[in-house]
Assembly symmetry: C2
Homo-oligomer: 358 residues x 2
């Protein structure tokens, strides 16, 4: 366990108490736009409302977007801040669930696990997952069963069966065709402006609305603006203007949004079919947790509602859930559930021996 | 004029002669994959074959792809190398035509001009243009009239009228929808592999061919591979495997290539219409210069030939030209033409005065 980095990040621990006897758990939701860490007590039962001990916020922690070092720095900082705000040191931590966008492969998980082990005491349990796990758990009080659709800067659909099978669709980033994401919607809107300007596509009100918003004099300047900063979140921030232009009756903007609905619905359908979450007859009930800025209601154009309409024609039994808890709390509940399960397993492992002895 | 940078780039000049009395011109073709500089004598007539004094090659000089500092370094290095190989110093240079991919706006031109003035003597004439100028000129011995289609890592269509009007289409990079480019074709192929893997798209032989080529065990690893290196040229290098998979009868790969043909043809059509290069009746003759790896012939699938077939149905009078000279020589010919024109203008400005005196 390293004590300090630049003498700063963990410096507060010199004054922090060890924490409660039962300890705490940390849940981290690492996204392409922001990263949130919350701290919960490690032992139950958990009352309603949840006793959130602290909350910390940082920037992007998707290593595909900002690189591995910047991503790790953000993750370490939010965890340290959450503990510092709760006035506990790392010795109080029982379990950490790190649910991070861009974790797509066992090798990604392993690299983060190795790095976490260097930061925390040996006894801490780690759960390193894709950020879809945090989103799913935020709609199901930590239970991983059903399907989750995230549509923010990026998009991914993830599914979990009760017996531990998982499947995913999309979540491969902008180069690999996540066209339903906020980035995808905005990039298509920018493309439509360039095409109209070139004479390769229909005229669209997006030209005026996007140029006005960015305070640029002509579409030619969009090229420089686009490549001046490689952040995906910066492009995705144009989604509200695409939605309002569609609400204003623009055909091109409407086409882009309908295409995104189709893309997002296709991702859900692919995951549900692969895991047979809808049962053999296609009508069984399963939760569909929906999170992310793209799915939030606008005045008239509501992408999330359109996705629900589309999917309900195929799987009439699904239960759409818009979580009231934030994903980071979902991650903390995963850490809490697994920590409690291990505690219970350990107790059960002891019990038979005791009963034999009796 | 700076004498040295890191004591290296222009260090050779201490031994280099001043050069021929009439001087030399430099032509630079700056692309996203590579950058080429050639050196020609500044005064004519130019014999056939052209007396190319030297040639130097560097990496990417598109500032949108590698950033401004790296792009400038590459440009400065290829110019210094070309002069060093020809054994001349910068004092021999009469004119430089820098035709660089990513130069999309007067502010891009101005930044490069300011920087060039710091490198070369005051008397040198500069022409800073988009790389399409070099490509056009390579097919027309330096004359800027007609349309040029470039389809390499990126794509752009550019047109020039005899009275100096210009128009362009595409050339806005991968984020802004250059789907006919090498990058665009390859990104669509990678997307098709991910969709097939997710169950969101049809199965395709691209999966096996691309994974075999990249020596990756599964499509899941493609995400890490894609974002490990942001170079557009690295993605575009997959085009030959997409073409061979299409030749092997794969429907998905064929659809991607037909779409790219349509995209490339649409760019040409937009430019020709805006400049009325085809005349009022749409049948007038004009040159269409076609360059770039994407347009080169494959065994059976020839993207360039399909583009010609498509465009000829709309503009029966166009003359497709596959240049024998490389674009950098085209850039040098632009520098040579303009340098000769200024010389002629200067002589003509003197002549009337002389005739009045006679």
């Amino acid at each position: 366990m390293k004590r300090f980095r630049n003498g700063e990040i963990w410096g507060f621990e010199a004054q922090a108490p060890r924490g409660p006897a039962d300890g705490v758990v940390l849940g981290v939701d690492g996204g392409t736009t922001s990263t949130v860490c919350v701290c919960l007590p490690a032992a139950g039962p958990l009352p309603d409302p949840l006793p959130i001990l602290s909350r910390a916020v940082g920037g992007c922690s998707n290593h595909n977007s900002v690189g591995e070092n910047a991503a790790r720095e953000t993750l370490e900082e939010v965890m340290a801040q959450a503990l510092s705000k709760a006035c506990y040191s790392r010795k109080a931590v029982r379990a950490v669930c790190l649910a991070v966008s861009g974790v797509n492969h066992p090798t990604d998980q392993q690299r983060i696990l190795d790095w976490l082990r260097d930061i925390f005491p040996n006894s801490v349990k780690f759960y390193v997952e894709n950020d879809s796990v945090a989103a799913m758990a935020s709609g199901t009080m930590g239970k991983l069963h059903g399907c989750v659709l995230i549509a923010g800067t990026g998009t991914i659909a993830y599914g979990f069966t009760e017996d531990g099978k998982e499947a995913r669709a999309a979540g491969a980033g902008p180069v690999l065709g996540d066209w339903g994401s906020g980035y995808g919607i905005a990039a298509q809107a920018l493309t439509a402006v360039m095409r109209a300007h070139d004479g390769r596509g229909p005229q669209t009100k997006l030209t005026k609305s996007i140029l006005d918003m960015l305070e640029l004099p002509s579409p030619d300047e969009l090229i420089g603006w686009t490549y001046a900063d490689p952040s995906w979140a910066r492009i995705a921030a144009l989604v509200p203007i695409v939605v309002s232009t569609a609400e204003d009756g623009d055909e091109v903007a409407n086409r882009i949004l309908y295409d995104s609905v189709q893309e997002l619905a296709d991702s859900i359908i692919a995951v549900v079919r692969r895991l047979r979450l809808c049962g053999e007859d296609g009508k069984e009930a399963f939760p569909l947790v929906m999170v992310g800025g793209v799915l939030e209601a606008n005045k008239r154009w509501d992408i999330g509602k359109e996705v629900v309409n589309y999917v309900s024609k195929i799987f009439p039994g699904f239960l759409p859930i818009r979580p009231k808890l934030e994903p980071a709390v979902g991650a903390a509940l995963v850490a809490w559930n697994r920590s409690m399960r291990e505690l219970k397993d350990a107790q059960e492992a002891d019990s038979p021996r005791i009963s034999v002895l009796q």
